[in-house]
Every structure is written in structure tokens, then in C-alpha cells.
């Protein structure tokens, strides 16, 4: 009886330790203040909106998609996404980019665009499986 609990307890402890460790490793913060995004230099999910006036650029050779994003207080930052323009990008009311600010621009590995009405969201989803 006692052995059973010790055995089980150790397994549970190892499991929980592993989970918490991985959780801290894979943890990504949401951030809607670009001043903080730029200061941090670590992977975040930055939320803001596309600066329409500055248009966007599709680079065919390097396969990058570049545009400018602004947060609520108007701070702007350049975003470079390795991939193509997401579905619905032009009509998005807000954009969530996942990545890291480095060398003067935000290097995005994922873009989520959100559209004005329900059920209308598009995503450049890359499935992990």
C-alpha cells in the first residue's frame, strides 16, 4: 500500500515538474504596448492594427510580407512576416502577431487577423500536426 503511494507520488511529481518547466518555456505574453514590445526583445503576441496609410509590401524573392502596425497610443512598428499576406488582411480590424522585436523590426512567425463581424476570423494557421 505504502509503496504504491510513493511510486505514484514520484510519477506525479515528475509529471508536474515537467509540465511547469515546459509551460514557462513555451509561455508567450500578450502585449498591446509596442514600447514594451520593442524594449523586451523576447517572443510576445503583439496586438494592434495595421497602418493602412503605410500600405504593405510583398517581397517575392525572400518570401516576406512587410507592413506597419500601430498600438492604441499610436506607437508604430515595422513587422516582417516570413510568408504571404494572410486571407482577409485588408479588412482586418485588428492584428495579432507572434514573434520578437529584433534589429529594428518585429519578426513575426504567426499572424492572426481579426475581422469586424462574428465568425469571420482568418488565420494563417500552420498546423503542428
Amino acid at each position: 500500500m505504502k509503496n504504491k503511494y510513493i511510486f505514484g507520488g514520484v510519477i506525479v511529481a515528475v509529471f508536474l515538474f515537467l509540465m511547469i518547466y515546459l509551460l514557462t518555456q513555451s509561455n508567450i505574453q500578450y502585449e498591446n504596448d509596442f514600447a514594451k514590445v520593442m524594449a523586451k526583445e523576447k517572443t510576445v503576441k503583439a496586438t494592434g492594427s495595421w497602418v493602412k496609410e503605410k500600405s504593405y509590401e510583398l517581397d517575392k524573392e525572400n518570401k516576406t510580407f512587410t507592413f506597419y502596425m500601430a498600438d492604441q497610443s499610436g506607437n508604430q512598428m515595422k513587422v516582417v512576416y516570413e510568408g504571404t499576406i494572410p486571407n482577409n488582411f485588408e479588412s482586418a480590424v485588428s492584428v495579432v502577431v507572434t514573434g520578437k522585436y529584433q534589429n529594428g523590426y518585429f519578426h513575426a512567425k504567426d499572424i492572426l487577423t481579426k475581422c469586424p463581424s462574428k465568425y469571420e476570423q482568418q488565420n494563417v494557421k500552420s498546423s503542428s500536426m
Partner: protein
């Protein structure tokens, strides 16, 4: 109106049924029949309300807000009917509908099994009551009229017969930035329409339409199956509470088993159908992305499947008399399954995941949020309150020891591993509640070791005897399976090039479980067929894991540009883009790609189109399905090779009176040209134009010109100007209050580039090879069959006294 009345009556009946069933449980006579009548009336009223909603959808009655928001005249009938569950209100309605129907079966089932009915049904009707409050006019009522709150409707959806009426002018609005006209629908307009004797459904003649991503076969079948699974999760909860009400833990186990099995089978199928939809239509490039909405339906499934394993142990150990092992575990898991279904609803409907999910659900408002919290809270308090109340009694009934090598313990371990998996997904999915998110590698890394344990247990537990087994016996019995699985794993390493140690272990564990289960299943087929269920389901999960190893861990992927008619090698295939052609009445474009390997030739066509619904570019993948793999092409973009104003020329913003210097040329924005009639035309929604007068100064020569922003039947156009003097082309891009945006380019230079390089049509694609993905689908289907073979066996057993 009638719909809301029917739903309110249904709520009243549900409450009556709940009270009457509870009184019956408390020992009152005469109340059972009232309860039954009330329950059936409720179910009939819910079915009637659903029929009314379907009828209103099919007849395009846009005086209902829900119907206006999600459907339109051009939808084919099947899809039109499916708009029933396209939004929150309707999907709650679908949930109520299925729960009511499940309840009819449950009422019949429980009435034949002793004194079960009043207890089970009083808990069950608590759940239907909550759901009916949810769809009542207070919260998410699908029968809300369009004019209850002011809303702007596009002019195209309004019957043109009324647009020139004088009384409507007060309700017409125009958005000058997009140049679209709207009608403000609200109580005032409704009053105006009523006094003019016009029915709203004659006034609003078309709806907003459905998101094009939902416009397909899977929309018709995936949500109903998922919601049926959710509805069935209510049943084990009701059984567990019923057991605690009576303080009798013997019968509920075998009575609940067929329900738990059927519910898990259906929910599992529904979840994977969503995965197939994402893979085949939405072009995610895979079937599982750990998206919060996928996750939140996976969590209750995992816990439900965990409960199956411990329920089996309890049932088996009851044979000695007593209540059997894991009585408390089973109560907890059955309660948790339903609470997690509710939690899943909370996550996806309360707007808390707003930033995190592909499935977007608009913030439903504080009231709905609070109600969802109360809904879950009630069931948590009920479930765990009862448990605490009975805890002491249950503790006294605790039973014996198990040996390390017994089927008891193996099944319990399986249940623990499944719960661990559920916990991982739960923690990751709940992270957005705390302003965080987790990367998907969190889920993957955590699940690989768990999947290895699952594979091993899957094989081992079926070899073990219930009480105790010795190692010698085990080795002898599993010799064939071990040999075969080593051979299969070795061939995966040699032919499949699998080198990752975790993947090799996972492959070994999965093939071990596959062969053990196959071996036993083959023996059973010769004997007692009804015992087959568990083995079939486990063969399914083994196939599924093998499929995941191939299609997820060993999928190869490249992004390439295909120039028209130029062959390109990728992933061992030769690809040629041969051009595109319009399909489906010119609404979409199929981009044809020839695939060649050896002497085999295939053509597949990914699809792209601009959706009118959201003015966005939509993409659909194309899949070449082969026995051992899929070749998957997701379109990224298409370039016709002509000049694109986005990429050429320099973009300049100019304020009124401002100027900019470019290659020695000075461009100034002098003034706006806005005649008085423009203002009038703008307000009346007619065609109009606005101008910007600019001047260009180059080497002392000055020329003045005007660029126009034209609005022709709702479409905005911009003009350009080419200067003879400088050869510069100036194109107006935007014109707003006080500011313009122009692009300046030199067509001569651009033309020179083009002479050397003929315009090329380029299709950009993302191509991947998914080995053994068919095993994933086959595994899920086999698992589903296994669940239902088990249901038929356990159904018979549930009647035996």
C-alpha cells in the same frame, strides 16, 4: 414572436419536470406522471421551436436578427439549413435540441431500470432548464427581432422599392471613407415601417451571408455531431449525482457505461471531423493545431474516456459484492466530463479567448458572461457538494490492494495518463485567461511520452489478468506481438528514415499495442463477437498514433514559386503550373498543377478567390490522395506578371499645400476641387467625384493637373496622370480630409525592365507530403466502430440485475 413564446413555455415545462421528478424522488406519489408529461412537453416544444427557426431560415425571414446575420438568399438549401447553427444563438439552440432528444431516450431507458428515473431526470432537467434560459429572450435568443437594437444594414439588403420614400431619408447614412450607404434599423424605423404598413421581411430582403469558410459539406455535419457529443455528456453526470442521491454506488456503473461509451464515440468522431475539415478545406496544412476551440472539446473527451477505464474496473470488482474499486474516481470523472463541456462552452462563448483563437466569437456581453459563470458554478457546486456530502461513506467502502501486474492497475494507470493529457491541454488552453498563451510545442512535447505510455498500456493491459499475472506468463503470451512490433519498428527506421529516439519508442509502443489487440481480436472473431469492442477501439488508437508519427513528425514541406509551364522539382515530384480556369459560375478560380512522378501523371487544383462577403482572398488546398501518403498543396498567391501599384513606384503622402521632391522633380498639392453638387450627390448616395489639383515642377517647367477620386455606383476609382515632360506617372491612391496619397513611378523604366523580362505568371504554393495520413482517418473510424460494438455489449449488461 411565436418562437420566443414556444421557448418560454419549454423553459416552464422543464422547470415543472425538474420539480416533479425531484418530489417523486422525495417520496411523493402522483408526481411522476406529471414529471413525465412535463418533460415530453418540453421536448416537443423545443423541437417545435427548432422547426420554426428552420422554417424562418428556409423562407428567408430577415426580420429576425439571427437570420439576417448568418444567411442570405444565394445559399444552397443544405448550407442554408446549416446556418441554423452558424452563430452563438443557433448553436445553443442546437445544443438544447439535442439535449432534449437525448433526454427522451434517457427517460425511456431509466424508467426500465428500477427507481432510476426520478433521480436521473431531475438532474437532467436542471441542465435543460439552464440551456433554455440561455436561449430565452434574456440572453442568446435566436428569435430576437432585427429592430430591437439599432443596427446598420447595407443598402443592398433593402428592397429598392422603399428607398425613394420620403420617410426613409432620416434613416439613410453614408460612410464617406468606404462610400457605402446604410440604413439604420432600430425601433424608430420599425415604427415608421409599421405606420406605413410595411412588413419588415418585405423591407429587408437579403441577409449578410455566411463566411465562405463555412460554406461547405463539413459545416452541415461537424457541428451537429459535436453538439450531440456535448449533449450526451450530461448523462453520466446525471447518473453520478443520482447514485449519490440514493447513496447506492452499485447499479449506476453498468447503467451509465453504454452512455459514456456512446458519448465518447460520438464526441471523438465530431472532434476529428473538425480536424478533417481544417485539413481538407481550410488549408491549415494539418488536422490539429492545438487551437483553443479544438482543445476545449478534446478535454472532456479525454476525461470521458478515462472514466470508461475506471468504470470497467469498478464494474468488474463489484462481482465480489461491495461497491467495487475506484468508486470515488468514477464519480469525480463523470462529474468532470460535463463540467468540462460547460467550461469549454465558457471558454469559446464568453469572449475570453478573443485574441487567441481562429474560431472567433464576439464578446457576448457581461450578462451572458455572468450567466455562463453561474451555469458552471451551479454544476460544480452540485457535483462536488454531493461528493463531499457522501465522502465519509465512500471512504469507508474503500477496497483492497492491487498487484503491480494486474489489469486493474493497468486500467487505472490508463485513466491517470488520459487525465494527465487532459490536464496538459486544460492548462495550455486556459493560459489566455491569465493574459498568456503557450506555444504549441508545449502540447507536443508533453504528449509524446504520454503517447508512449498509452501505447504500451494499450497492449499490456489486455494481456494481464484481472487479479495478478506473473512475468513469465506475460512474456510467453506476448512473444508473437513483441516480435512483430520489433520487425515493424525496424522497418520504420530502415525504410522510413526515422531516427528520433522518442519517435522510435512511440512507434514501438504503438505497434506493440496494434499487434496485441489484433492477435486477441482475431481469436475473438472465432469466438464471442460481442467482446470485440475494446480491442477494435484500441486497434484504432494504435493506427491513429502510427498515422500521427508519419503525417506529423515526418511530413516534408516546401514553399515554392511555380512559373507557368515551367517544370519544377519538389519533394520528389515534378510540378508544372498549367494555368487557371474559373469554376462555380466564375466565383472561384482553380489553379491547375500537373504532378509527375516516374510515368505517373496527376492533376490537382488548389482554389483561390476573392470573397464578396469580406473582400478577402480565400484559399482552398488541393490534395492528391495516395495509399501511403497525401501530396498536399496550399496556394499562397498568384502574380499575373503585370505591374502592381503596391510594388512599383514610390508612395508619397501629401497634405494640402505641401510638396515633395523626387529625382529633381517637385510635386505640390495645391488644393482640393470639390464642387457644390458633389456634396449634394454624396448625401444622396449618387455617383460623385472629388478632385485634387497638383503641380509638377521639373527643370524649370511647371505643369498643373488634377487627379480624381470617383465614386461610381458604390465603387471607388482613382485616376492617374502621366507627365509628358518628365515621363513620370502619378497615380492617386487615396484622398481623405486634408490629405492625399499618390504613387509616383516611371513607366519607361518599368517598361525597360519588362522588355528584358516577359511578364511571367507565377503561382506561389506551399507543398507538403504527409506520409501515412490515411492511418489517422482509418484509426479514428476504427475507434468509433469499437466504441459502438462496446455500447451494444454494455447495453445488454445494463439490464441484467
Amino acid at each position: 414572436m411565436i418562437g420566443s413564446i414556444v421557448l418560454s413555455l419549454a423553459l416552464a415545462s422543464s422547470l415543472i419536470a425538474m420539480v416533479m421528478y425531484f418530489l417523486t424522488f422525495k417520496g411523493y406519489q402522483n408526481t411522476l406522471n406529471i414529471g413525465r408529461i412535463a418533460y415530453h412537453s418540453m421536448a416537443m416544444l423545443v423541437i417545435a421551436a427548432s422547426a420554426i427557426l428552420t422554417y424562418l431560415i428556409l423562407t428567408h425571414d430577415y426580420s429576425y436578427k439571427y437570420i439576417y446575420n448568418y444567411s442570405s438568399n444565394d445559399l444552397p438549401t443544405g448550407i442554408l439549413a446549416a446556418t441554423f447553427w452558424a452563430g452563438q444563438e443557433g448553436s445553443f439552440m442546437l445544443w438544447v435540441l439535442f439535449t432534449s432528444i437525448v433526454g427522451i431516450v434517457l427517460q425511456n431507458y431509466s424508467s426500465k431500470r428500477g427507481d432510476l428515473e426520478p433521480r436521473v431526470m431531475s438532474v437532467f432537467t436542471l441542465s435543460t432548464s439552464f440551456l433554455l434560459v440561455m436561449v430565452s429572450p434574456l440572453f442568446k435568443n435566436p428569435f430576437a427581432y432585427i429592430w430591437t437594437e439599432p443596427v446598420f444594414l447595407g443598402v443592398k439588403d433593402i428592397s429598392s422599392a422603399f428607398l425613394n420614400q420620403p420617410w426613409i431619408q432620416n434613416f439613410l447614412f453614408s460612410d464617406s471613407s468606404t462610400n457605402q450607404n446604410f440604413v439604420k434599423m432600430g425601433p424608430e424605423l420599425y415604427a415608421a415601417l409599421s405606420s406605413a404598413g410595411i412588413a419588415v421581411k418585405d423591407f429587408v430582403i437579403d441577409g449578410k451571408g455566411l463566411n465562405p469558410q463555412l460554406l461547405n459539406f463539413w459545416m452541415q455535419i461537424h457541428p451537429p455531431i459535436l453538439f450531440l457529443g456535448f449533449s450526451m455528456a450530461t448523462v453520466p453526470f446525471a447518473f453520478a449525482i443520482a447514485a449519490m442521491m440514493k447513496n447506492d454506488y452499485n447499479h449506476w456503473v453498468k447503467q451509465a457505461l453504454p452512455w459514456v461509451l456512446a458519448g465518447a464515440g460520438i464526441l471523438g468522431l465530431g472532434i476529428m471531423m473538425g480536424g478533417y475539415w481544417a485539413y481538407e478545406m481550410l488549408g491549415w496544412g494539418g488536422y490539429w493545431a492545438w487551437d483553443p476551440v479544438e482543445n476545449s472539446s478534446l478535454i472532456p473527451w479525454l476525461v470521458g474516456v478515462a472514466s470508461i477505464h475506471t468504470l470497467l474496473v469498478q464494474r468488474k470488482t463489484q462481482a465480489k459484492g461491495g461497491i467495487g474499486k475506484y468508486a470515488k474516481t468514477n464519480l469525480i470523472l463523470s462529474i468532470m466530463t460535463y463540467i468540462l463541456v460547460l467550461y469549454s462552452t465558457f471558454l469559446t462563448r464568453s469572449g475570453v479567448l478573443g485574441d487567441a483563437s481562429v474560431h472567433s466569437f464576439v464578446d457576448p456581453g457581461m450578462l451572458v458572461y455572468l450567466f455562463l459563470v453561474i451555469f458552471i458554478g451551479t454544476f460544480i457546486v452540485l457535483g462536488f457538494g454531493m461528493l463531499i456530502y457522501r465522502w465519509k461513506f465512500l471512504n469507508e467502502k474503500i477496497e483492497g490492494e492491487e498487484s503491480l501486474l494486474s489489469r486493474d492497475l493497468a486500467l487505472f494507470t490508463a485513466s491517470v495518463v488520459l487525465c494527465a493529457s487532459a490536464l496538459i491541454v486544460l492548462v495550455g488552453t486556459s493560459a489566455p485567461l491569465f493574459g498568456n498563451a503557450v506555444d504549441t510545442f508545449f502540447y507536443n512535447d508533453m504528449h509524446i511520452p504520454l503517447a508512449i505510455i498509452i501505447g504500451l498500456l494499450n497492449g499490456l493491459s489486455l494481456l494481464l489478468k484481472w487479479k495478478q499475472s506473473d512475468g513469465q506468463y506475460l512474456l510467453k503470451k506476448s512473444f508473437l506481438s513483441i516480435t512483430l512490433s520489433i520487425i515493424l519498428t525496424a522497418s520504420m527506421i530502415i525504410f522510413g528514415g526515422i531516427t528520433d529516439i522518442m519517435m522510435i519508442l512511440l512507434g514501438l509502443a504503438a505497434s506493440f499495442s496494434l499487434f496485441v489487440n489484433l492477435e486477441i481480436a482475431i481469436k475473438i472473431i472465432r469466438g464471442n463477437m460481442k467482446m470485440l469492442g475494446a480491442y477494435v477501439a484500441h486497434i484504432g488508437i494504435a493506427l491513429f498514433i502510427l498515422g500521427v508519427i508519419g503525417s506529423a513528425a515526418y511530413s516534408k514541406h516546401v514553399d515554392i514559386d511555380l512559373i507557368k509551364n515551367e517544370p519544377k522539382e519538389a519533394l520528389g515530384y515534378q510540378l508544372i503550373f498549367t494555368g487557371y480556369n474559373p469554376i462555380e459560375n466564375n466565383t472561384k478560380y482553380a489553379f491547375n498543377i500537373n504532378l509527375k512522378k516516374g510515368d505517373k501523371n496527376y492533376t490537382i487544383s488548389p482554389i483561390m478567390y476573392i470573397s464578396e462577403f469580406n473582400n478577402g482572398l480565400m484559399r482552398e488546398p488541393a490534395i492528391l490522395n495516395m495509399w501511403t501518403k497525401d501530396f498536399y498543396i496550399s496556394p499562397l498567391g498568384y502574380d499575373e506578371g503585370t505591374n502592381d501599384s503596391h510594388n512599383h513606384g514610390q508612395v508619397i503622402d501629401l497634405e494640402k499645400g505641401g510638396s515633395s521632391e523626387l529625382n529633381g522633380a517637385k510635386i505640390s498639392f495645391d488644393r482640393f476641387d470639390m464642387p457644390a453638387e458633389t456634396m449634394q450627390a454624396m448625401q444622396e448616395g449618387k455617383d460623385f467625384q472629388m478632385g485634387a489639383v497638383l503641380s509638377l515642377e521639373f527643370q524649370g517647367k511647371k505643369e498643373s493637373f488634377e487627379l480624381l477620386r470617383k465614386s461610381v455606383s458604390g465603387q471607388v476609382q482613382f485616376t492617374d496622370y502621366t507627365s509628358q515632360n518628365t515621363g513620370l506617372k502619378i497615380q492617386l491612391l487615396n484622398l481623405t480630409a486634408g490629405k492625399i496619397q499618390i504613387s509616383v513611378s516611371n513607366p519607361n523604366e518599368a517598361a525597360q525592365e519588362n522588355v528584358q523580362q516577359n511578364p511571367k505568371e507565377v503561382l506561389s504554393i506551399s507543398a507538403s507530403v504527409k506520409p501515412f495520413i490515411n492511418l489517422v482517418w482509418a484509426g479514428v473510424l476504427v475507434m468509433f466502430v469499437g466504441f459502438f460494438v462496446s455500447v451494444s455489449r454494455r447495453l445488454k449488461e445494463s439490464l441484467v440485475k
